[in-house]
């Protein structure tokens, strides 16, 4: 699908947008540079473009903010598009007295057509053009900072939207909706005869709700933890900087902090191994092993489990003659089947056989256990000593009168306490299933198991078990397809982004290490986030955006505000040479200082359009589409109206 902007018009709006109509030609120019000094309505134009594309819900205050004078009662904005070569106009009319905004769409249609109320974009576009996504298309430069902010997930969401991966979810949801409707149908048709069904449904809903609550809680705790991690890094950074005034003390501080981290890592590794060992009780002590071996011997002695199989009795019941030679009539058949459940089923036999085998091959490893326990103690002591040394160094610096250190140290302790509380709660939430009947109310794994068990009980009761399994197969396949497709697209876009970054920032090895919700730069992972300048950040954003759009099935226009203002001239030239070929339509709002190194790269491009908008001494907004005016324009010098071919 291809979307092009043909132009836009403003009527009676604030910020110099009293009467301005911008036409990008037929067909619309591939590159349009709009030179608008501050105060001529550039920000408002960007805001209006986004608003009509996303059918923004205007508040009274927002509408009033667009009112140019008290005497003005109404105003409007119209965006003219070509959607797959069909003209389509989106308009918003403001009533400044009532503080309201009304949208309308004008389009060519086989039946009817003309002007209709509302924003009537094609389904595919409307689903995609959410407020977040529109920020990538109408790009205000602010996103350049966010695009690599770890807390945001616009990068991942953009990939999902642009490549329509959400459609796979809606397909799964359709299958699941059908399953639910079948269950409801079964419930309503059988409710009178089986009141227990309703109870089973309530039980399943309760477990589902509880699981949802726990997942939300985990998400919330993860978010809080991320924030506290950031705070901790900030406070530690501040302390290091202040302590670093004394170089000897700084070196000691860094060394002790490194010791502390190594000790924590050692404790974690030893604890992990210890837990693995404890999962096999025979390794704990020789006495435990001896008792388990005695149990294995008794199982062998009783010929368990071979002689006690339920299946044996099921098969026996179907025979004409018993193993003792007596005939098996209907009475014996029923009696054997009735008693069969007293014996072990196949799955239980498998467990006992696995136990026997494990006991036979088990060896006591209590030496290893003791060694690990000692290692944990030693590592913990090292950690404590290092932490105390760090504390002493910081206190020394604070005692010398540095109040900022004392404050940062107190903040650090507060954050450490908060983090410890969060970690402790997360451990219960996300760790292994704890003991106790109500574990499913506190632990996610237990809640998932409880939900699955109750779901299955309901499926069995409503006789929709087969459909549930069929639906589960399809949704599982679709889930894996989505994950795989997303991983492939993400990796492809990451690789393309990095190829472009080599061109854009050849002097420094900045690359996108991963796209994990947001863009994570290799320098972020190294802990040196402050090392990326605003210009480099913008270059990363361009490299990512162009990579994102170049392989997508949608061809969308790219509108950008001040594309080069924070870039040095060399990077500007690289951006100017890289970006144009990657978008099939670009509209760039620039100021005069962006001409050098950026706008001048477009002067020789055939079909590029250059528009200059300025306010004259009477306060009226004028517009020229003359390249000579564009090149010569300076904010403080008004162009000669006649030679500039001015439209006002």
């Amino acid at each position: 699908m291809q979307v092009l902007i043909r132009g836009w018009s403003c009527r009676d709006l604030r910020g110099g947008l009293r009467n301005l109509s911008v036409d990008l030609g037929t067909p619309p120019a591939r590159w349009t540079l709009v030179q608008m000094p501050n105060g001529t309505g550039k920000t408002t134009t960007m805001q209006l473009l986004t608003a009509v594309l996303t059918a923004h819900d205007w508040t009274v205050d927002e509408v009033q903010a667009l009112r140019p004078t008290v005497a003005t009662t109404s105003g409007g904005f119209e965006l003219r598009l070509l959607v797959d070569n069909q003209p389509l106009s989106l308009a918003v009319e403001f009533d400044f007295v009532a503080g309201t905004a009304e949208y309308s769409t004008t389009r060519v249609r086989a039946l009817g057509g003309g002007k209709e109320p509302g924003i009537l974009l094609p389904d595919l576009l409307r689903a995609m053009l959410t407020k977040d996504f529109a920020r990538l298309v109408v790009f205000d430069g602010e996103l350049a900072r966010h695009i690599r902010d770890l807390k945001r997930n616009e990068a991942a969401l953009a990939i999902q939207r642009l490549y329509r991966l959400e459609l796979i979810d809606t397909l799964s949801q359709t299958a699941e909706r059908y399953l639910e409707s079948e269950k409801l149908r079964a419930l309503s048709s059988r409710a009178k005869t089986n009141a227990g069904l309703k109870k089973k449904q309530a039980l399943r809903d309760e477990a589902e709700y509880q699981l949802g609550q726990l997942l939300v809680e985990r998400e919330d705790l993860d978010r809080q933890r991320d924030k506290h991690f950031e705070d901790r890094a900030r406070f530690e950074g501040l302390i290091t900087t202040r302590v670093g005034v004394d170089s000897k003390r700084k070196a000691l501080l860094e060394s002790k902090r490194a010791d502390e981290q190594t000790a924590v890592a050692d404790t974690r590794a030893a604890s992990q191994r210890l837990l693995e060992l404890l999962r096999t009780p025979a390794t704990v002590h020789e006495r435990v092993l001896a008792r388990l071996r005695a149990l294995g011997g008794k199982l062998d002695q009783l010929k368990l489990p071979q002689t006690m199989s339920q299946e044996f009795f099921h098969e026996l019941a179907d025979q004409d003659v018993c193993v003792c030679g007596r005939p098996i009539s209907a009475t014996e058949h029923d009696a054997i089947l009735a008693r069969a459940p007293h014996y072990l089923a196949e799955n239980q036999i498998a467990i006992i056989n696995a136990m026997k085998s494990a006991i036979r091959t088990a060896t006591a490893e209590h030496d290893e256990l003791q060694r690990l326990a000692d290692a944990i103690n030693v590592a913990d002591r090292r950690r404590r000593l290092a932490a105390e040394a760090v504390q002493a160094l910081v206190e020394d610096a604070a005692a010398e009168g540095d109040l900022a250190i004392a404050k940062a140290q107190s903040d650090l302790m507060r954050v450490a306490n908060l983090l410890a509380a969060i970690e402790s709660r997360l451990e219960v939430l996300s760790g292994p299933i704890p003991a106790g009947a109500d574990a499913w109310k506190r632990n996610i794994k237990a809640a998932q198991a409880e939900f699955e068990a109750r779901k299955r009980a309901l499926d069995d009761a409503t006789e929709t078990r087969r459909l549930a399994l069929q639906t589960a197969w399809l949704t599982d396949v679709l889930h894996r397809v989505r994950a795989r497709a997303e991983a492939r697209l993400t990796e492809d876009i990451r690789a393309r982004t990095n190829q472009k970054l080599i061109r854009l920032i050849p002097s420094e090895s900045i690359e996108v290490a991963r796209i994990d919700g947001a863009l994570v730069l290799s320098s972020d992972e190294g802990g040196a986030r402050g090392g990326v300048s605003e210009g480099q950040s913008l270059a990363v954003a361009y490299a990512f955006l162009t990579s994102l759009f170049e392989a997508a099935s949608y061809q969308l226009p790219f509108v950008v505000d001040s594309p080069a203002v924070s870039l040095d001239v060399r990077v500007r030239r690289e951006v100017a040479s890289l970006v144009p070929d990657l978008f099939h339509q670009m509209i760039m709002f620039v100021i005069s200082s962006e001409r050098e190194g950026f706008a001048d790269g477009f002067y020789a491009k055939p079909g590029a359009r250059f528009i200059t908008v300025w306010r004259n001494q009477a306060g009226e907004v004028n517009m020229s589409q003359d390249l000579a005016v564009f090149k010569a324009f300076h904010t403080d010098v008004e162009p000669d109206a006649e030679s500039a071919g001015v439209k006002s």
Binding site: M1, V83, D84, Q86, R107, V108, R109, A110, L111, G118, L120, P122, D123, L124, R126, Y163, R164, L165, L167, I168, T170, L171, T174, A175, Y178, N347, E452, A453, R456, R465, R466, L467, L469, Q470, T471, W473, L474, V477, L478, R480, V481, R482, R484, A485, R488, L489, D492, S553, Y554
Partner: protein, 84 residues
Amino acid sequence: MTEPRGLLNSRLHGESLTPNLDLTMPLDPAVRDALDDVLRDEPQSDELKSRVRQLVSNWFDHNSTDDDVIRVVRQVRVNIEQDD
């Protein structure tokens, strides 16, 4: 249930499709490859796998109905005795 989904959505939003506006798009190669990879080792018939591929492709084109989804689901072979 039997109405094409795109058309149904359009009606829900007070809009009808115009015959001269082709808004369909091919299945992205990343999705197609992922489908092939995932289905390859699934213990289902080739016919069902082919139907799943077709269903996903049509779904992306807004050219399949809820009934198409149900038909495919009902054809999945499962072991009713299997444990969760």
